[in-house]
């Protein structure tokens, strides 16, 4: 009787260890896909492609909810996540560096995060495309 009990405990420990192992693998996979480097690169390239296709006076909204969560987790203001300097989009979702990608469309683009009535970030980013050299308003 005592022997059978030992076998059961061993099996349970074995199953628990297997589940733990699989959980760690799944967590690792999920973290890789939503890491600051991969996500920053994805966003900067997506934004560049959208700007390349855009025409002056367009207002483009992009869902960057995952980026918002990651930036907040890394202690960054979502307002500083996207910068456009000249013809280069820079996406920064962690305190270390950021990812930049250029676009060929010769336009001025102003990015800002959308806010709800309470003044909180919605996770959407807005890009206002203007003709080069034309003032805001």
């Amino acid at each position: 009787m005592k022997k059978k009990g030992t076998i059961l405990v061993e099996n349970i420990v074995f199953i628990i260890l297997n589940l733990l192992f699989l959980s760690i693998l799944v967590l690792f996979l999920m973290r890789q896909g939503s890491g600051a480097i991969v996500l920053g690169q994805t966003y900067s390239k997506q934004i560049s492609m959208v700007i390349d296709s855009a025409k002056p006076d367009m207002i483009i909204k992009m869902d960057m909810d995952k980026g918002k969560k990651l930036a907040e987790k890394n202690g960054l203001d979502f307002n500083d996540a996207v910068k456009i300097e000249g013809n280069t989009v820079i996406v920064k979702l962690s305190k270390k560096g950021g990812y930049s990608y250029s676009f060929f469309n010769n336009v001025d683009v102003s990015p800002y995060p959308a806010k709800d009535e309470k003044g909180e970030y919605t996770g959407m980013y807005v890009f206002v495309v203007r003709e080069k050299g034309v003032e805001n308003g």
């Binding site: 192992f21 693998l25 996979l29 890789q32 896909g33 690169q41 492609m49 390349d52 250029s102 060929f104």
Partner: protein, 180 residues
């Protein structure tokens, strides 16, 4: 009993080795999948070709700026990039020599002669053009070459002459799109 303990130990080592192999495999697969940068050059070259086509003709009629006195306006080749609102000089110091990462070529053919273009012009880094004509048999070896897109369209001049227009757009940018 001694034999059973020995078998158990062997089994434990076997499982440990198996788990290590599986974990190693998964890590390797993830590294291969997420390691190299996303290659968006094909989409980018397609967008560039579309934008050029939009600049040349609207609803199948070639922009009147392309003609002067019934002939092609050679001056358009100088100003086309600016007219189309393109800026190719965007990444200073990109690449070893800070070279321009874009190139396009536009060729107009009459329907009588589809071999020799009646008019053509280009802009950007001419060095990228050669990459378009290399037969890319092995994707890995040729991944660093520029990505090209050729677009063909038919359009009419205001006088009603029909032209075949070939647009070749090329994007370099291998540093940001291919694992170095």
């Amino acid at each position: 009993m001694d034999n059973k303990k020995g078998t158990d130990k062997l089994l434990s080592i076997y499982w440990f080795v198996m788990l290590t192999l599986i974990a190693g495999g998964v890590f390797a697969m993830v590294y291969v999948f997420y390691g190299p940068p996303y290659d968006v050059r094909e989409i980018e070259s397609e967008i560039l070709a579309e934008r050029i086509a939009d600049c040349i003709s609207k609803q199948g009629v070639i922009n009147s700026d392309f003609f002067v006195d019934g002939k092609f306006n050679a001056a358009i080749s100088e100003s086309f990039t600016e007219r189309c609102n393109f800026n190719f000089d965007v990444e200073k110091g990109y690449g070893d020599t800070g070279e321009i990462q874009y190139f396009y070529e536009v060729e107009f053919y009459t329907l009588k002669d589809t071999v020799n273009p009646a008019f053509s012009f280009y802009d950007g880094n001419n060095n990228w053009k050669a990459d378009c004509f290399i037969k890319k048999e092995n994707n890995k070896e040729y991944a660093k070459l520029a990505k090209c897109k050729e677009k063909r369209l038919y359009a009419l001049s205001k006088e009603g002459d029909q032209y075949l227009i070939k647009i070749l757009s090329v994007i370099g940018k291998s540093e940001k799109n291919v694992k170095q």
